[in-house]
Assembly symmetry: C2
DNA sequence: CTAGTTGCAAATTGTTTGCTATGTA
DNA sequence: TACATAGCAAACAATTTGCAACTAG
């Protein structure tokens, strides 16, 4: 894919390289959807067992800087990373910790209001809504 | 106030007490608005210098369980605690890190949609919306 | 006396930094 | 050679846990 190529050249302009470790981290994030650095690390180590968690953190930072991945703070623990194109809103249940996802379209009206009234450009892809899921409310 | 009284009896039913430390933590959260456990601790220590941060953590957990305070993850660092009645939505600018606040009424429509379509009861008081503020967009 | 509570120290968890060795242009 | 990078260990920050001492009912 040309994505790979342009990524390489972007890195090259900065005197950086697309190393196997970085590629593995990116692949892991793509595959896992939402994952903590810890989870990414375990996934990567499935292929290359010597890769250190430090390297994972540094790769995630770099990939985020390049706009390829982003992180979100769902709930309490560690942040989760996902690929940039991952476009949906998270519904985080504070009771059971479960994560559901809905289309960002649900937020279109709200986004418009915020922009008009506050000049605030909502980033709907970077968003976790907290509440109680159906299961927990009924249980 | 009768709040204090009912709080005491609620605790009493569980065989617990409203200790000075817990009262100080609650007061500190009330006074500070949004504060990290660290900040709460410093505030409390202004009055009672021997209070340990462990106690602050435990008091915050308890007060949260009782529904008197709640915590929110604004941005990256430590969570911030505020009193339950603190009803507004945070607009967190990911560029400058600034926090603005808007009324939860803005989310009423969204909340209704989520409840109808997903059975998800949105907790609008526990919410940070991420995006770009007017200043940063114009600057 | 009994059970809840505190403070302290130590353990955990998540993340970052310093440094050396290595690999590549 | 020069420079980015990886790995490792140690530092760090935030939070939790184990436990002995204390205190109110």
């Amino acid at each position: 894919m040309s994505d790979q190529v342009s990524l390489r050249s972007t890195l090259h302009q900065r005197g950086m390289r697309m190393t196997p470790q970085r590629q593995l981290v990116l692949d892991a994030v793509r595959e896992l959807g939402h994952a903590t650095p810890e989870q990414v690390c375990r996934k990567v180590q499935g292929t290359a067992s010597t890769v250190n968690i430090t390297t994972v953190y540094r790769a995630l930072d770099l990939l985020e800087e390049l706009g390829l991945v982003r992180h979100t703070h769902l709930g309490h623990g560690a942040p989760t990373y996902s690929v940039e194109e991952h476009e949906h809103v998270h519904l985080a249940c504070h009771r059971c910790g479960g994560i559901d996802e809905v289309s960002t379209e649900l937020l279109d009206d709200l986004a418009r209001l915020l922009l008009e009234q506050r000049g605030f450009a909502l980033d709907a892809t970077h968003l976790a809504l907290s509440g109680t899921c159906r299961n927990c409310r009924e249980g």
